[in-house]
């Protein structure tokens, strides 16, 4: 098993004819993702060459899902239109299948657009949104797997560690750390660092706890907001699998946005110190340095009798 996305999940790409969408669709197909097509309004009927194969393009998400019975859609649409693309996918999945996973990679979507889009998705209980402004989700397979997003596929291997992170490249660092102790990943989920997003830490922790393939969890947070604290408190009551946690931004000054729109300490709240303290209170194994995630994970696995 894995979380939300199976190795052979059928995936469509919104914005597949754009530069970003086409580039990453090609990389996803190369990795082995079951990429069944894409959509760009006005370009229905065309095909797109992904190197390993050609896939069809539809005008609407509805047409794409009706034809392919897709399980997931990944959004590479530019910021002004991305929230609309999310809502289009949510509506289509909901009406045709009653379920579906939407992964939004786009960075720079206006916050009020996301407030609207997240409310729209939340009104449709079968629909899950991951992101925006995230690397996506990957479930490595025995051969290939499902890579839905922009992460480098080759650094991953199938295994038993679930990874959830607000950050992109720091997630890759965490993946490399699990590999350094010869552990692969069940599913890696980038939830993104925007102030308003879809799936949060708690959703991911609950899914990893329920997933039989996942035996331990790595959780990477960032300064800003209180999602890490809430997740830690929730994990204390609900997660029995060992968790290793890291929070980026211990040295960030207050009031300054550190790259991600959500990574800002405001009103003295959302500091790394508070988040690390919350992790420790919840019995989460803390890595203060991302280069130590592997070693800390090894300790966590040993103490849980998993090594």
């Amino acid at each position: 098993m894995s979380v939300w996305i199976n190795e052979d999940a059928k995936v469509i790409v919104q914005g597949i004819t754009g530069r970003q969408g086409h580039f990453h669709a090609t990389k996803m197909a190369e990795y082995g993702t079951n990429l069944v097509g894409g959509c760009t309004p006005g370009k229905g009927g065309q095909t797109v060459d992904l190197g390993v194969r050609e896939v069809p393009v539809w005008d609407s998400v509805e047409d794409a899902i009706k034809t392919t019975d897709a399980d997931a859609s990944v959004v590479y649409v530019p910021p002004p239109f991305a929230a609309g693309a999310i809502m289009e996918a949510a509506e289509a999945f909901d009406r045709i299948k009653g379920e579906g996973v939407i992964i939004c990679i786009t960075e720079g979507i206006p916050t009020l657009d996301m407030v609207k889009a997240v409310a729209y998705v939340d009104d449709r209980p079968g629909i899950r949104l991951i992101g925006p402004n995230c690397p996506g989700i990957i479930t490595p397979g025995d051969t290939g797997g499902a890579k839905i997003g922009i992460m480098p596929g080759h650094i991953h291997a199938k295994g038993r560690i679930g990874i959830v992170s607000k950050s992109g490249t720091l997630t890759y660092e965490a993946v490399a750390q699990t590999m350094s102790i010869n552990e692969g990943q069940s599913t890696c989920i980038g939830i993104g660092g925007d102030p308003v997003n879809g799936t949060g830490f708690i959703d991911c922790l609950a899914a990893f706890q329920a997933d039989s393939q996942t035996e331990a969890i790595v959780m990477i947070g960032e300064i800003g907001g209180s999602a890490e604290e809430e997740a830690a408190a929730w994990a204390k009551e609900n997660v029995t699998k060992p968790i290793v946690g890291f929070v980026a931004g211990a040295t960030a000054p207050p009031g300054k946005r550190m790259g991600h729109a959500g990574a800002i300490i405001s009103g003295g709240k959302g500091t790394a110190a508070e988040k690390f303290a919350a992790f420790e209170r919840a019995g989460i194994y803390v890595a203060r340095d991302p280069s130590e995630i592997g070693a800390v994970l090894k300790t966590a696995l040993e103490e849980a009798g998993l090594l």
Partner: protein, 402 residues
């Protein structure tokens, strides 16, 4: 992106949120003319900077550093007082608890009519990331620092959340007003004001609107006596008017140049420059430098697909900071290939004539090619295999200078 009070009040005025008459001035003469034209015996003379705490801040002479005047917001009862206050404010440095020690040079002034204040309130509208909706916070403790109120008297803060599907509903405004103790005409004025303020928030893609104080007048009017407005930079593409409101004097010049080059840069106080791909990894790199006993000079995220030119710009921005004694490059190549970064680093070092130690850590896509390129170069570049050893190395290399 933040704007000045006088600009925020213009947005309010245009949308029908009650504000007092006022004039934006940049000279003492304009301030006097404003006083003459406002026809109000009592006026407020207000320093315009983006930081808060202006009223309790102090003004200093930029040349001598001597105290010029206590208080960045003054009530003037005569033409002479307007002249004195305007003279003491314009061209002087205002230091408040939000500006940091260096303060802000004041170029703008707002002269505003006086009003009859019966009570002061606090009101803020912002996006609540946990509730994923707009939150309105109000308190009867106007004029006070809201964090202090939250600390000392949390039950004095009243909150409502706006359902994105239905918008601000009349009962919510009524309940919030009642919680503040408003009734009759004042309650009506409040609910009307709140609905218009909500429209301002949505129409302008605000990240934050704070009115401290919001006042009730003797005749049951509700007036925004302050206006602290911040916009969501992600929405800039649909607000052509923001360019005119932007005050470059309030922003760091290097940060502006970085953002124009597609880089995200924040200057810090340390001496180790950092160049990293990805915001989370950039923060983590700073953290590890600190753990190893060093001090980061900056946050710099070159993003997911930086080219040679961007890497050169990044280096030049880092090197402009005279505090920088060494640089750590930390790249985890995903989409970005390490060989491209390695070439960019070499080109930048050659172009800029780097004189401080440079440690480069590469990982991920095409890492072997990247490392080979660095190894072949005759430049003084120290390679590192992982973040911890890279940070350790740069801290050691600059150790002699500390």
């Amino acid at each position: 992106m933040n704007i000045h009070e006088y600009q925020g009040k213009q947005l309010f005025r245009d949308a029908g949120v009650p504000v007092l008459d006022g004039v934006h001035c940049t000279t003492v003469e304009e301030a006097l003319a404003a006083y003459d034209n406002l026809g109000s015996k009592v006026v407020a003379v207000k320093s315009q900077i983006h930081a808060g705490g202006r009223g309790k801040g102090n003004l200093y002479c930029p040349e001598t550093g001597e105290l010029q005047m206590e208080g960045g917001v003054k009530i003037a009862f005569s033409r002479e007082e307007v002249e004195t206050y305007a003279t003491n404010i314009l061209g002087h440095i205002l230091i408040t608890k939000q500006t940091g020690e260096e303060g802000k040079l004041v170029h703008n002034l707002y002269v505003e009519s006086g009003c009859d204040i019966a009570h002061e309130y606090y009101l803020a509208m912002l996006v609540d990331r946990e509730a994923k909706s707009i939150l309105i916070m109000a308190s009867t403790e106007g004029g006070m620092d809201i964090e202090e109120v939250a600390e000392s008297n949390p039950e004095a803060i009243h909150k409502i959340w706006i359902d994105p599907n239905s918008g601000l509903l009349p009962f919510q405004s009524r309940n919030l007003g009642t919680a503040l103790g408003l009734e009759g005409g004042a309650l009506k004025s409040f609910t009307k004001m709140l609905s218009k303020l909500h429209s301002v928030f949505i129409a302008n893609d605000c990240a934050m609107v704070e009115i401290n104080p919001l006042v009730k007048t003797g005749d049951d009017g509700i007036i925004a006596l302050d206006a602290k407005v911040g916009f969501d930079s992600n929405a800039e593409f649909r607000h052509k008017d923001w360019d005119d409101m932007r005050d470059m004097g309030e922003e760091d010049e290097a940060e502006i140049r970085a953002s124009e080059a597609g880089l995200s840069y924040v200057k810090l106080d340390g001496n180790i420059g950092c160049l990293v791909n990805g915001a989370g990894l950039a923060m983590a790199t700073m953290d590890v430098i600190k753990l190893k006993g060093g001090d980061p000079a900056n946050f710099l995220d070159v993003g997911g697909g930086a080219n040679e030119e961007q890497v050169t710009t990044a280096f030049s921005i880092i090197l402009e900071d005279p505090n920088v004694k060494g640089i750590l490059v930390n790249i985890f190549g995903g989409i970005m290939r390490c060989d491209i970064i390695a070439r960019g680093v070499i080109a930048a070092v050659e172009n800029l004539g780097l004189e401080v130690p440079l440690v480069v850590r590469l990982a991920g896509t095409n890492v072997d090619e990247g490392k080979a390129i660095l190894a072949e170069s005759t430049l003084n570049i120290h390679p590192a295999d992982d973040l911890a050893s890279g940070a350790q190395r740069i801290v050691e290399l600059i150790g002699g200078d500390q």
